[in-house]
C-alpha cells in the first residue's frame, strides 16, 4: 500500500514543484529522492510497517512476493534515473512532467504486483499504460516519436478493449471480480466456456503488453521511435511488472483451463523466441536489435507462466532484475553513442574502455553466461520447466534460441573489442556516469556469484 499511495502523492507534488523549482537539473535529484523514499517505505512494509491503513476490501493483497518485486522495480528505476536522468532532461521541454509520469507508472506497478481483483488488474494496467503513451511521444518535434506514440496508443487501447471484454466475460462466469471466485455459472460442464473465452481475451491483451508473439508487432516500431531513455524504461521495469500481473492472474485461473493452456503457452513461447531471436539477427541498429531482444527475453520470461511452480516464481523475480539491470545499462551507454548502428560501436574499447567493459558485462548477462545475474535468470527459468519433466522439448528449443541470441549480442562485443574504428560519443560522459556503470556491472556480477543474497530476502 505504501508504494501505491506514496508514489501517487509524490507524483502530484512533484508536478506542482515545477512551478517553484526552475532549475531543470534539479528534477532528477528530486525524483531520485522520491524513489529512495519509496524504496524505504516499501521495504518497511515488507517488514510489516504500514503507513496507511486502507480497507481494500480484499481487492488488493500485499504478499511478500509482490512487495519484493516492488522493491526490485523501485531499485531498478532508481538506478535508471541515476544513470539516465540527464538524458531525460534532454528529451523535451517540460522535463519535470516526464519524471512525474515515471512516478505514476510506479503506482501502477504497485497495483500490478498486489491486485486480487480483475478491476484492480485493469486499473493497474491502465495506470501503467497511459503515462507510457505520453512518454513515447515526449519528443514532440520528432516525427518518429509521434508516430510511435500514436501507434502505441491505438494498438494499446485496442488491447485494453479486448481485455475489458475478457474481464466482463469472467465476471459473467464467476459472478464477481475477485480472482479466487470459482466459475459457477453454466452448471456442470467440464470446462466453463465463458471463463475460457474470457481468459483467452485477457491472455491476448496481456501478451500484447509484454510483446509476446503473435502480438508483438508494435514493439520494434514503438521501441525504436520512442526516445531511447524511455525505451529503456518500457522494455525493462514496466514489462517485468506486467509479467508479474500476468503470473498472478494465471496462477489463480490456469487450473480451470486444463491441458490446453500449456499447449497454447508453449506455442506462444516458441513463436516469441523464434521471432525475437531470428529477427534480431538481421538488425543494423543496436536499438532495434534490443527491441527484438526484448521480445526474445519475454519468451524466456513466459516460461514462468508455463511452469508455475516455486522455482518459476523465484525465477521471474531474478529474471526481472537481471534483465532490467542489464538492459538499463546497455541503454544508458547506447544513449551516449553518436551512432547507434553496430558499426557505431567499432573500437569503443579503445576510446572508452570503461563503457566497453561494462557494456560487455551487460551483454554477457543478457546472453546468460555464468558469473552474471543473467545466468541465474535463465537457470531458474529452465529449471522450472525441467522440474515438470514433461516438456523437455520446450527447454531444448529455448536453449537453441539462447545460443542464437549469442549471435546478435556478441556482435556488439565484437564491434567494441575486435573491430577497428573510432566510436564516438554524442555527449561527454561524466566520471559519475562511469562510476555508476561500474557499480551496476559489479552488482550484476555479485548476484551472478551469490544469487542467494537476493533470494534469501524472499523467504528470510
Amino acid at each position: 500500500m505504501n508504494t501505491i499511495i506514496i508514489s501517487a502523492i509524490f507524483g502530484v507534488l512533484m508536478m506542482f514543484s515545477s512551478i517553484s523549482v526552475k532549475r531543470v537539473s534539479a528534477y532528477k535529484y528530486i525524483a531520485a529522492f522520491g524513489l529512495i523514499l519509496l524504496l524505504i517505505m516499501n521495504i518497511a512494509e515488507t517488514y510489516g510497517f504500514q503507513l496507511f491503513h486502507v480497507n481494500t476490501r480484499d481487492m488488493l493483497r500485499f504478499d511478500r512476493f509482490g512487495l519484493f518485486f516492488n522493491s526490485i522495480a523501485i531499485a531498478a528505476t532508481l538506478i535508471y534515473i541515476l544513470l539516465s536522468g540527464r538524458d531525460v532532461e534532454a528529451v523535451g521541454k517540460n522535463t519535470c512532467d516526464l519524471f512525474v509520469l515515471i512516478f505514476f507508472v510506479m503506482c501502477g506497478i504497485g497495483i500490478m504486483s498486489s491486485f486480487n481483483s480483475l478491476l484492480m488488474l485493469f486499473l493497474g494496467i491502465e495506470i501503467i499504460s497511459i503515462p507510457l503513451y505520453i512518454l513515447t511521444g515526449s519528443d514532440k518535434k520528432n516525427l518518429k516519436s509521434n508516430e510511435a506514440a500514436l501507434k502505441y496508443f491505438l494498438m494499446g487501447s485496442f488491447s485494453t478493449g479486448i481485455m475489458l471484454m475478457g474481464i466482463a466475460l469472467l465476471f459473467g462466469a464467476t459472478g464477481g471480480f475477485a480472482l479466487d471466485r470459482p466459475a459457477t455459472m453454466f452448471g456442470p460442464l467440464p470446462v466453463n466456456v465463458m471463463e475460457v473465452i474470457g481468459l483467452a481475451f485477457i491472455l491476448v491483451a496481456m501478451a500484447f503488453k509484454v510483446s509476446a508473439a503473435p502480438f508483438h508487432f508494435w514493439t520494434p516500431d514503438v521501441y525504436d521511435g520512442a526516445p531511447s531513455v524511455f525505451t529503456s524504461f518500457m522494455a525493462t521495469i514496466v514489462k517485468a511488472a506486467i509479467f508479474i500481473g500476468f503470473i498472478k492472474l494465471f496462477e489463480a485461473k490456469a487450473p480451470d483451463l486444463g491441458q490446453g493452456w500449456h499447449i497454447v503457452i508453449a506455442l506462444m513461447i516458441v513463436a516469441t523466441l523464434f521471432i525475437g531471436n531470428i529477427t534480431a539477427i538481421f538488425q543494423q541498429s543496436v536499438k532495434r536489435m534490443l527491441a527484438y531482444s526484448s521480445i526474445a527475453q519475454a519468451g524466456f520470461m513466459m516460461f514462468a507462466l508455463f511452469s508455475q511452480n516455486d522455482t518459476s516464481k523465484e525465477g521471474i523475480i531474478l529474471y526481472s532484475l537481471a534483465y532490467s539491470l542489464s538492459t538499463i545499462g546497455i541503454f544508458a551507454i547506447l544513449i551516449k553513442m553518436k551512432d547507434v548502428t553496430f558499426e557505431g560501436f567499432n573500437g569503443l574499447a579503445r576510446t572508452q574502455p570503461v563503457l566497453a567493459a561494462t557494456n560487455a558485462v551487460f551483454l554477457l548477462s543478457l546472453v546468460g553466461i555464468p558469473l552474471t545475474a543473467g545466468f541465474w535468470a535463465k537457470y531458474y527459468m529452465l529449471a522450472s520447466v525441467v522440474k515438470m519433466e514433461s516438456a523437455l522439448w520446450l527447454v531444448i528449443v529455448a536453449v537453441i534460441f539462447a545460443a542464437v541470441s549469442v549471435y546478435y549480442y556478441f556482435r556488439v562485443i565484437q564491434a567494441m573489442y575486435f573491430k577497428e574504428g573510432e566510436a564516438a560519443l554524442a555527449t561527454e560522459v561524466k566520471p559519475g556516469f562511469r562510476f555508476g556503470l561500474i557499480l551496476l556491472a559489479a552488482a550484476i556480477i555479485v548476484i551472478g556469484v551469490m544469487p542467494n543474497l537476493l533470494l534469501n530476502w524472499l523467504y528470510f
Binding site: L364, I369, P370, L371, Y379, L382, A383, V386, K387, E389, L392, V395, I396, V399, I400, A402, A403, V406, Y407, F410, Q414, Y417, F418, K419, M450, P451, N452, L455, N456
Partner: protein
C-alpha cells in the same frame, strides 16, 4: 587448501594483470604467477598429498543444494599438473612475441587457466558447469583479439559450438538434479541417481554432445582446425594442450560413471565415430601444407583414440587415457612452440616455402624430431606408454576395431615424418637461407619438454600410480 590456491592464484593474479600497462611487468607477473601455481600443484602431488589438504568444501548456494566442493583425485592431480606446467612453458617460449595491450593478454591467459583448474577440481556439478563456461569466455576474447586475419568469425564459430553444447548439458544437469533424492548437485549424488533406460540414453546425449564438441570428436570437430590456425599461438597451446582435455576429463568424471547403462549401449557407436575421426583426421593431416593445420588435425586423431579407449571401458585403456592426456598436452605444446618459432622467424607456416632448416638450426631440428617422434608414439617416448595402454584396452574390447584404429599410427608416422622432412631437410631456399638458430628461451623450453617426454617414456610408473584410484572409482561406478 591446495585446490583453493590452484584456482585463486591464477584468478587473482589474472585480474590484477588487467591493470598492468608495462610489457615487461605484465610478462614477468604472469610468469611469476604461473610458477607459483606450478609449485603448488607439484606440492599437491608429492608433498602435501594427504586427503585433508586435497579437498575443500564450503557452503555456496544452500537453497539450491549446491556446494563449493573441490578436490583433487589422481586424474585431477595429473590434469592440474598439466595445466600448471603448460603455462610457464608457454609464457617463456612465447616471451618474445609482442602483443598489443599485453596486460590484458596475460590476464586472459591466467583467467583461462583458473577456469580450467576449476573444471578439473569441481566435485559439484553446478560448480563444474560454472567453470566449464568460465574457461571459455577468456579464451574467446584471447582468440578474437590477438589472432589471425579471420579470427573473429572463426572464434565465434568455436564459441557458438561450445555454447550450444554446454546449454544442452545444463538441461541434463538440471534433470539429474531433480532426480537426486535430496536435490543436490554433488558428484556422489549424481553417481547414485537412478534413471530409467530411456532417461539415461537421453541424458547421456545431452551431456555427451557438450563434451564431444569440446574434445572434439568426429563429427563435431569442424570448429577446431580453423580456431587453432587463427588463434595466437600462445592461446592455441592452451586450447590444444589443456582445454581439449576438459572434454575427455568430463567424460571420465561426469558421463561414464553417471550413465553406465547408456555408456554400455552407445559405446560401440562412439568408438566407431572416434575411429572414423582418427582415420579421417590423419588422412587430412597428410594433405596439409600448413604446420598449424597439420598439428590441429593430428590432435583430432589423438583425441579420437582417447575417446575410443574410454568407451572400451577397460582398466588399462582408462589408465592409458589419463596419462595420455598429460603426454599429449606436453607433446602438442612442444610442436606448437616449434611452429611458432619458425613462423616468427620466417613469417611463414607453409611447408612449400620451407626446407633445409636443419642446416641452419640443428638444435631446433633435434628437439623437433623428438617432439614429432613422440607424436608418432615411438617407444621410449611418453606417448608410447599411453597409446600402448589405450590400444591394449581397445584390443580387449574388440580386435577388429583395434586393428583399424592401429592404421592411424602408421598415418601419424606418415604425416609427422613428412613434416620433419619438409621443414628441416632438403634444399634450403631463398627464405630459409637467412634462418638462424631459435632463441635460447625456445631451446630451453623444448629441451625441458624433451626431457619430460623421454623420462615419462622410460619411467611412467609415478603417473600410472596416480591414475589407479580414479580408474577403480570409475570402473566401480560402471559395474
Amino acid at each position: 587448501m591446495i585446490p583453493v590456491l590452484l584456482i585463486l592464484i591464477p584468478l587473482i593474479s589474472g585480474l590484477i594483470s588487467f591493470f598492468i600497462k608495462d610489457v615487461k611487468a605484465a610478462k614477468g607477473w604472469a610468469l611469476l604467477s604461473s610458477l607459483v601455481t606450478f609449485a603448488i600443484s607439484v606440492a599437491g602431488i608429492w608433498i602435501y598429498n594427504q586427503p585433508a589438504n586435497l579437498h575443500y568444501d564450503a557452503a555456496w548456494l544452500p537453497a539450491l543444494g549446491s556446494r563449493f566442493t573441490i578436490g583433487l583425485d589422481g586424474m585431477g592431480q595429473i590434469l592440474c599438473l598439466l595445466n600448471a606446467v603448460a603455462m610457464p612453458i608457454i609464457f617463456v617460449s612465447t616471451y618474445r612475441n609482442m602483443y598489443q595491450n599485453p596486460g590484458a593478454f596475460y590476464a586472459l591467459m591466467l583467467l583461462t587457466q583458473a577456469g580450467m583448474m576449476g573444471v578439473f577440481l569441481a566435485y559439484d556439478c553446478l560448480l563444474f558447469y560454472f567453470f566449464w563456461e568460465l574457461a571459455l569466455i577468456p579464451a574467446y576474447f584471447l582468440c578474437s583479439q590477438w589472432g589471425g586475419e579471420k579470427r573473429i568469425a572463426v572464434t565465434f564459430k568455436f564459441f557458438i559450438y561450445t555454447f550450444v553444447g554446454s546449454l544442452l548439458m545444463l538441461i541434463g544437469i538440471l534433470y539429474l538434479y531433480y532426480k537426486t533424492p535430496d536435490e543436490s548437485f554433488a558428484l556422489k549424488a549424481f553417481y547414485n541417481v537412478v534413471l530409467t533406460g530411456n532417461e539415461q540414453s537421453f541424458m547421456f546425449w545431452l551431456f555427451f554432445i557438450a563434451f564431444a564438441i569440446k574434445m572434439p570428436i568426429f563429427p563435431f570437430h569442424t570448429w577446431q582446425p580453423d580456431t587453432y590456425e587463427q588463434a595466437p599461438t600462445a592461446a592455441t597451446m592452451v586450447l590444444s594442450g589443456v582445454m581439449v582435455k576438459m572434454g575427455i576429463f568430463a567424460v571420465l568424471r561426469w558421463l561414464v560413471p553417471v550413465f553406465p547403462a547408456a555408456t554400455e549401449q552407445f559405446s560401440q557407436l562412439i568408438i566407431i565415430l572416434s575411429i572414423i575421426g582418427m582415420l579421417y583426421a590423419s588422412l587430412i593431416a597428410i594433405r596439409q601444407d600448413d604446420i598449424k593445420r597439420l598439428i590441429a588435425y593430428s590432435s583430432i586423431a589423438h583425441i579420437g583414440l582417447m575417446s575410443a579407449a574410454i568407451f572400451a571401458q577397460e582398466k588399462t585403456g582408462l589408465q592409458g587415457v589419463m596419462i595420455q592426456m598429460f603426454n599429449h598436452g606436453i607433446n602438442v605444446i612442444g610442436l606448437w612452440i616449434v611452429a611458432d618459432a619458425i613462423e616468427s622467424k620466417l613469417g611463414t607456416r607453409k611447408f612449400s616455402q620451407l626446407g633445409g632448416l636443419a642446416q641452419k638450426a640443428p638444435v631446433l631440428a633435434i628437439l623437433f624430431v623428438v617432439m614429432a617422434l613422440a607424436n608418432v608414439a615411438l617407444p621410449l617416448t611418453n606417448a608410447f606408454v599411453g597409446e600402448f595402454l589405450m590400444f591394449n584396452g581397445l584390443f580387449r574390447y574388440n580386435i577388429w576395431m583395434s586393428a583399424v584404429a592401429g592404421i592411424s599410427i602408421i598415418l601419424a608416422a606418415v604425416y609427422s615424418l613428412n613434416m620433419i622432412q619438409k621443414i628441416f631437410f632438403g634444399e634450403t631456399n631463398a627464405l630459409t637461407e637467412q634462418a638462424t638458430e631459435a632463441r635460447s628461451n625456445v631451446q630451453w623450453m623444448l629441451a625441458i619438454l624433451a626431457v619430460v617426454i623421454i623420462v615419462l617414456g622410460v619411467y611412467p610408473q609415478p603417473m600410472l600410480r596416480l591414475t589407479e584410484d580414479t580408474v577403480n572409482t570409475i570402473l566401480a561406478a560402471v559395474k
